[in-house]
């Protein structure tokens, strides 16, 4: 039996897309030894869809040589991969945001079922708080 060319192309494209978008299975210790210092967080949601697909697992903080570090763990709860952009902002004790001449938006891609950690180190020792902004990309 000979299949028509368009059908073959469609089949090949489906296989290709399925290969690119395979969800991720993750294995780790049942009782992890790492004990992160977690931070309670407050989320302001405007994009409900993104919030449903990309859920917050944990916010942890640490200090390295006088600079605060933050790690936000996110999980993709769907099978499809999710692309998004994120940006960290740092704030001084007096509430003033630390100005960056070109605040960095970073692109990220998280596969279905995958968990990722987004990290940032404060640009100055006097930064005490942070804000993480997330937005969906195409």
């Amino acid at each position: 039996m000979k299949l028509p060319a368009p059908l073959l192309s469609l089949f090949a494209a489906t296989l290709l897309l399925a290969g690119c978008n395979s969800p991720v299975n993750t294995i780790g210790p049942a009782a992890p030894e790492a004990v992160p210092l977690t931070v309670e967080s407050r989320i302001q949601v405007f994009d409900e869809k993104l919030n449903l697909r990309l859920s917050l697992v944990q916010v942890a903080e640490a200090e390295s040589n006088g600079f605060r570090q933050v790690q936000v763990t996110l999980a993709n709860r769907q099978v499809r991969p999710q692309e998004f952009a994120y940006q960290f902002e740092w704030i001084r004790a007096n509430g003033m945001a630390i100005q960056d001449p070109a605040p960095v938006w970073r692109g990220a891609r998280i596969q279905g079922g995958e968990t990722i950690e987004l990290q940032s180190t404060a640009p100055r020792p006097d930064a005490v708080d942070f804000r993480l902004k997330l937005r969906e990309t195409r």
């Binding site: 600079f67 952009a85 692109g107 640009p123 937005r135």
Partner: protein
């Protein structure tokens, strides 16, 4: 006709709102509306690499281990092994600015690297000063030298192109010649043609 006109107006409005007008406008320098090109290092790539390396350097604590605080560094040679002509200041200046604003390091602009002095006037005046007061000149001796390399790795499959831009930096302690801090950032892009937004 009466039904078509509102539809056309709506389409035009949607196109305008979607930013399809093609008219010049300001965009965030590293925002999601910037242009991505596979065959060149875009401004957002420079900024992201510099930002990653600065955060890594600050968190390493290397800059806090010198007797002289804040330490003084000089920018040495950044070798460009990519196919395009680039100004490596796009990488090093952003790192310098961040270190300066954090109070963790100062950069000497009077050092000469490969025959180029960033601030020749300051150098000449400093030399005059050193003749009068040699001790003052000794205090400004740099602790670290920042050197690096830019590398481009390309691949092609059919019409799809891929390029990885590798940014490498080393911070060498001048007194020992040891690289006390090193970092590498890879940025990979893939596509058939440049894109507006990501």
């Amino acid at each position: 006709m009466n039904k078509v006109l509102p539809l056309l107006s709506l389409s035009a409005l949607l196109a305008f709102l979607a930013g399809c007008g093609g008219q010049a406008r300001y965009v965030e320098t590293t925002g999601t509306e910037t242009i991505i090109s596979v065959e060149q290092i875009n401004i957002q790539d420079w900024i992201q690499a510099a930002d990653d390396m600065t955060q890594n350097l600050l968190a390493s604590g290397v800059l806090q281990r010198t007797e002289q605080q804040p330490p003084v560094l000089v920018v040495s040679r950044i070798v460009n092994n990519t196919s395009e002509v680039v100004d490596t200041n796009l990488l090093t200046k952003r790192i310098r600015v961040a270190l300066n604003q954090s109070g963790q390091a100062l950069t000497q602009t009077t050092a000469t690297t490969q025959g180029f002095t960033e601030d020749q006037t300051a150098r000449e005046m400093g030399e005059l000063e050193a003749m009068r007061d040699p001790e003052a000149a000794a205090q400004a001796r740099p602790d670290f030298s920042l050197s690096g390399r830019l590398i481009e790795t390309t691949a092609k499959a059919g019409k799809t192109r891929q390029a990885t831009y590798t940014f490498q930096l080393s911070l060498t302690q001048i007194s020992t010649g040891l690289a006390l801090w090193e970092d590498q950032v890879d940025i990979t892009k893939q596509g058939k043609r440049p894109a507006v937004g990501w």
